[in-house]
């Protein structure tokens, strides 16, 4: 036990060196003169809790008190409804009982017992100094001026001081608010509202329809034919690889195959797969598939002019770029190319086989893309 006392005394002295160098001003108009120490925050709370009405004034900084000079007191306090009163001293205002009863309302008894049991001397001493009183709790001492000698008030003041020394955490839990406004406790730091969870991105559209005007050109070594029309493409599915079905309708246009002037019309439909590469602002996509085209040709100025139709099979590739967002209405631009391995022959007299319809078909389109 003596070793424990010496250790405790050493800690107190070490704190006092610091306390003397940093005196804080209370924030409610009266000086508490409380040195900053590990309970600084509860002190501020206490100031808020004390209903002094501006009368109390802290005497000065806490004075370390050598345990050897402390008034002898033991723990044999008077019996009270709260149990043995550990408060010593000869104070009449406030009395030890009144202070003890107030203290019991602030700190659970078991906390008091646990905290004060280790003290070798009277852990709480109160002295009535007339217009002021002095309280010492576990060798921390303070004088309060209270000239009205309101003993109940003094008891509350003393008990709060004691509670702050003994178990400041308890004050935060039980401090009553008798004279509002007062703090119910340390305002809890605002709990940052959880960042609003970003709304889950809507699922990519399961169905997409691309519709727009199209320019298509039949290309061969000796000729080109140019058509304007419309392109319709549909995809079904959410993955990055989706099936695509497309159709193109082009207006008839004139062309020339080996000297034979023809009016040409073409209606290709295609089936393939689309690979979508999403980006931040745009989505890129590529397509590959096969196409079947209905090709209609009509001779324009032969002595005997015929109209003929034929079916073309071709391989098709496409590239496109589509603005975000994926869902709803947006814009796309696309290029496409078809290779017809065996384009139909054009036969007419006197040319005989005048040539073949275009082997390559290139197209460009732009328009609206609607994803749902």
């Amino acid at each position: 036990m003596p070793e424990a006392i010496a250790s405790w005394k050493g800690r107190v002295e070490a704190r006092n060196v610091h306390q003397k160098s940093s005196t804080h001003q209370a924030v409610f108009g009266y000086r508490l003169g409380v040195g900053a120490y590990r309970y600084s925050m509860p002190w501020i709370l206490l100031a808020a809790l004390l209903p002094f009405g501006g009368l109390a004034q802290a005497a000065d900084a806490l004075q370390p008190k050598d345990t050897t000079e402390a008034p002898a007191s033991d723990l044999n306090g008077t019996e009270s409804p709260g149990g043995v009163n550990p408060i010593g001293g000869n104070s009449l205002c406030p009395t030890a009982d009144a202070t003890w009863q107030e203290l019991l309302t602030l700190v659970p008894r078991e906390h008091l017992d646990a905290r004060l049991a280790g003290a070798s001397e009277g852990p709480i001493q109160i002295e009535d100094l007339g217009g002021k009183f002095r309280i010492s709790v576990l060798h921390r001492e303070r004088e309060y001026r209270e000239e009205a000698r309101d003993c109940a008030h003094r008891a509350r003041m003393a008990s709060i001081f004691a509670a702050l020394i003994i178990d400041p955490a308890a004050l935060l839990e039980v401090a009553p608010c008798e004279h509002p406004p007062c703090f119910a406790g340390v305002p809890a730091p605002p709990i940052p509202a959880p960042a609003p969870k970003p709304p889950a991105p809507p699922p990519p559209p399961i169905f997409r329809l691309d519709l727009g005007p199209l320019f298509m050109m039949g290309v061969d070594a000796e000729k080109t034919s140019q058509h304007w029309g419309g392109s319709l493409r549909m995809t079904l599915g959410r993955g990055s690889l989706v099936p695509v079905l497309g159709a193109v309708v082009v207006a008839p246009a004139e062309t020339n195959v080996g000297g034979v002037r023809l009016r040409e019309w073409r209606l290709p439909v295609d089936l393939g797969m689309r690979v979508v590469m999403p980006g931040s602002w745009v989505d890129l996509y590529g397509e590959v598939g096969i196409a079947l085209a209905l090709l209609s040709e009509r001779a324009l100025d032969l002595a005997v002019s015929n109209s003929r139709t034929a079916l073309e099979f071709s391989g098709r590739v496409g590239l496109g770029i589509r603005l975000k967002p994926e869902r709803g209405l947006t814009t796309f631009v696309a290029l496409q190319a078809e290779l017809v391995p065996d384009p139909p022959s054009v036969f007419a007299l006197p040319w005989g086989e005048a040539g073949r319809t275009p082997r390559y078909w290139m197209g460009a389109s732009m328009g609206a893309s609607w994803g749902i």
Binding site: L262, E297, D301, L302, A303, V304, R308, A310, V346
Partner: protein, 237 residues
């Protein structure tokens, strides 16, 4: 895809007759009145099996040998006229040997106003070969030849050759005559041609003073077309 045809008429002789000539209005043929002959022959053909064998007798006494296929009237204002010829041997031409003709009428409805216009002639070269010349009956050079763009173009002997003409009949400067020999243009003259839209086109063998006196020429695949036939063209399926 069979887109049709720009060929207006053909005579391929594959029917082993001259019906292609005789079955159309203004068409016909005129066999020689002397020792010559005019027959369908399977001796050779440009395409198919048959051709026409025109043999004329043109002795030195200036008796004209004459065998003709004729299309007169009901022809377009402009068209390409094509015929294939085969000379079995080289012939020395004493006066003339006409193998294609265009004729005119000064009054379209009046047959009595009919007259000669252009004659495409065979001529013999000093080296024994054959060539062409164009004789003009009417107009500024009436009674003379129009010089060809290619001097003395060679006419093959023992092989088929094609003579094709583009003829636009017009009394003004829009008239035109263009000639090709085996696809090579040998003449292109622009200017007045026939005074009326009436046109006659004859594929013939009309000669005076040939040596040998009897000369044969085969004719095949005659056509009138709105588009140029050319050596590689096809006039029938």
């Amino acid at each position: 895809m069979d887109m049709g045809s720009d060929v207006l008429w053909t005579a391929r002789f594959e029917g082993n007759n001259f019906l292609e000539w005789t079955s159309v209005a203004g068409g016909g043929y005129s066999p020689p009145s002397n020792l010559g002959s005019m027959t369908v022959s399977n001796e050779r053909a440009h395409q198919g099996t048959y051709s026409a064998n025109l043999t004329v007798y043109a002795p030195a006494d200036t008796t004209q040998g004459n065998a003709s296929f004729v299309r007169s009237g009901n022809l377009p204002m402009q068209a390409y006229y094509s015929a294939w010829y085969y000379l079995p041997r080289s012939v020395t031409v004493g006066v003339y040997w006409v193998i294609m003709k265009f004729r005119l009428r000064t009054v379209a409805d009046d047959p009595t106003t009919e007259n000669e216009l252009f004659d495409v002639n065979l001529k013999s070269l000093s080296d024994g070969g054959m060539s062409l010349r164009l004789y003009v009956h009417q107009g500024a050079v009436s009674g003379g030849d129009w010089p060809l763009q290619i001097v003395d173009p060679v006419v093959p002997v023992g092989d088929w050759f094609q003579i094709e003409a583009f003829y636009r009949v017009a009394a003004d400067s829009s008239g035109r005559l263009t000639l090709w020999l085996d696809g090579k243009q040998i003449l292109d003259r622009v200017g007045p041609t026939g005074p009326t839209p009436w046109v006659a086109w004859d594929v013939v063998s009309v000669a005076e003073v040939l040596s040998p006196e009897t000369a044969t020429i085969f004719i095949d695949d005659c056509a009138i077309s709105n588009s140029r036939v050319g050596p590689t063209g096809s006039i029938g399926n």
